[in-house]
Amino acid sequence: MNRKKINGNNLLLLITIALFVLMYAAGCIVYGSKGFANLQSFLNILINNAGLICVTCGMTCVMLTGGIDISVGSLIAMDCMFLAVGMETWKMGSQVLMFLVLVIGVVFGLVQGFCIAYLDIQPFIVTMAGMFFARGMTAMICTQQVSIVSDKFFTGLSSMKFSLPFGGYVNKKGILQMPYVRITVIVAIIVVVLIFLMLKYTRFGRSLYAVGGNQQSAALMGLNVKKTKLKAYVLSSFLTSIGGICFCLNTMAGTTTQATGLEMDAISSAVIGGTLLTGGVGNVVGSLFGVLINGTISTLVKTNGKLISSWSNIVTAILLCFFIVLQSVFAKVKEKK
């Protein structure tokens, strides 16, 4: 019984990885001539989605407890606007601002987590209010688009390249080019590894699974359910703030409409990666692959060139629908056993 349960959950992860490999291979075959098969184009998916990877890790932790956090997209917009206005208008140092952004993230998460864990309000309603609050605050800070140009440290970070020692290719001018990653990718990979280890080996990580699996038995086991939930939301907002900094390093600007619908991307990535929406089951490795699948879809749509960008939304929604139904079927099968 126990073994079968684990198999079922691993199956979801396997489906995800297989889907990614299949999709990427198909992309390589169809768009190979447009440079899709290069190692760099794969790394570009990572570079473009580094912020999303951080956010999805946090989202996975929240979803493990059976909750949801849809404030992430707006929070990122607020972070970016805060960084941009802070550097350009208030002329503050970027190190201080980045630290402040992380503090804002923790406070934001504390308020949301308190409402959800201690006041027993539905996570969706609280984070929806948080989403509108953050989006409105972005407009409160500044309604125009602000580009970051003046801060040397920040622009330096943004343009930093880390070349890989292998996989180089010769471009049209005959120069050997090494594939590279940005600093944001390194941050994202560190976050994934840390969260993976945390979920696997720490007390907090295990109690996240326990709370999501069954709140009552977790409470009877002596776990502090409310505190665990609170911590999950704080962690999510904190990781979102890290993601926000990564996002800002990518776009180097703050606008009020930035990262709209990012929460959808994060949730669908986590769901596609095998995280159950009812909680208790999930894995950041799956979430990472979920993000990669999302990234591949949008890259494929962009590489095609003829399709409208909303196609990537539609395809993601179809995939999301497929995985949600699959999960529900699995849950029914498990119940019957």
Partner: protein, 355 residues
């Protein structure tokens, strides 16, 4: 004291109280600015149509009021919210305008298809959206918010696809009629009034309202009592989809175009907020349609007030978010229990001192 307490326990207390509060704020603001103190309530006739801030609230609040009908039923029956309504509104705009203008056209002054066909096609598509949501919730046992998340993203995207990512204008007077004026009365008010009346009649004179509430209170018990719970939940989602379509109809006619990116944007929060403000529990069960409708117009009054105070539309969500949080915190069980404890302690102290 006891009369105040019994008053606060009335179901319509919260929506009416917040409505009065918003009006009071308007009066205070007007006095502070040196305007006539009752400027909010003045209704005049300008250019042969009704004019005034109150009319503006009623007019602009039509979409939210229509959405609130469907949302109330969904919340009551399935203890969850349909977050796809805004997106479905925009999908209606896409389908309707595309049918009327012909695929690929951007700016037309003549119908390619009859008006009724366009509206019918739009409403049909939104009903199918409701059917899809309802199927996932009722038969696949998926949490409502998650199930509707799919259309939240896809609805707008499909709308954009139908319009080729462009704003499709339909410059025909009969199309604009639904968003403009009938005689001296703004048409959206009439549309909303008809929708509310139909919903009220159905819920009052058939047993549907009771069925929905019983399913919301206990799904399993209602099934054992002989209701088809899943079918009733499905029906609620279809009604919600239809309401989203009707709201989309008003919104589209108002701007006589399918601005798919912006129609119904963030409307789902307004609709959910209307339901919460109406004194309905977001945990399902008993519902109060009148409360939701008053809640809907209260929200529009808040929005109109914010705009008249010079808050931009991008900044307004901050205040709305604060209002949502205050309402749900007041309704939260632990908070209620805390206040109960405090008041019972006070009563005990009183009795002890009396004795």
């Amino acid at each position: 004291m006891s009369s105040i307490r019994s008053l606060t326990k009335k179901r319509l207390f919260l929506p009416i109280f917040s409505m009065l509060l918003v009006m009071l704020i308007n009066v205070i603001y007007d006095v502070a600015c040196g305007n006539p103190p009752l400027g909010f309530f003045v209704i005049t006739i300008k250019n042969a149509v009704l004019y005034g801030r109150l009319i503006d609230v009623l007019n602009r609040g039509s979409e939210i009021a229509i959405l609130a009908i469907g949302m109330t039923l969904v919340v009551s029956s399935s203890a969850g919210t349909d977050i796809s309504v805004g997106s479905v509104m925009s999908l209606y705009a896409g389908v309707c305008c595309m049918t009327l203008a012909g695929f690929g056209e951007v700016n037309v002054s003549q119908y390619a298809n009859p008006l009724l066909l366009g509206i019918g096609a739009g409403l049909l598509v939104t009903c199918i959206c409701g059917l899809f949501n309802g199927f996932l919730v009722a038969y696949m046992n998926i949490q409502p918010m998650v199930a509707t998340l799919i259309l939240w993203s896809a609805g707008r995207a499909i709308g954009l696809l139908l319009c080729n990512s462009q704003i499709v204008y339909v410059r025909v007077p009969s199309f604009q009629k639904l968003g403009a004026y009938t005689g001296f009365m703004p048409t959206p008010i009439i549309v909303a009034a008809i929708c509310i009346a139909i919903a009220a009649v159905i819920l009052r004179f058939t047993a549907l309202g009771t069925y929905i509430q019983s399913v919301g209170i206990n799904k399993k018990a209602s099934r054992i009592a002989g209701f088809n719970s899943a079918k009733i939940i499905l029906l609620c989602y279809v009604i919600c989809g239809l309401c989203a379509g009707l709201a989309g109809m008003v919104a589209t006619s108002r701007i006589y175009s399918a601005d798919t990116n912006n129609i119904g944007l963030n409307m789902e929060l307004d609709a959910i907020l209307a339901v919460a403000l109406g004194g309905n529990s977001l945990g399902g069960g008993k519902f109060n349609l009148a409360g939701s409708i008053i809640g809907a117009y209260t929200i529009q009054a808040i929005t109109t007030t914010l705009y008249s105070m010079g808050v931009s539309s991008a900044q307004a969500p901050v205040f709305k978010a604060v209002v949502v949080i205050i309402i749900v915190v007041i309704q939260a069980e632990p908070v209620k229990e805390y206040f109960k404890k405090v008041s019972s302690k006070r009563a005990a102290v009183k009795e002890a001192t009396k004795a």
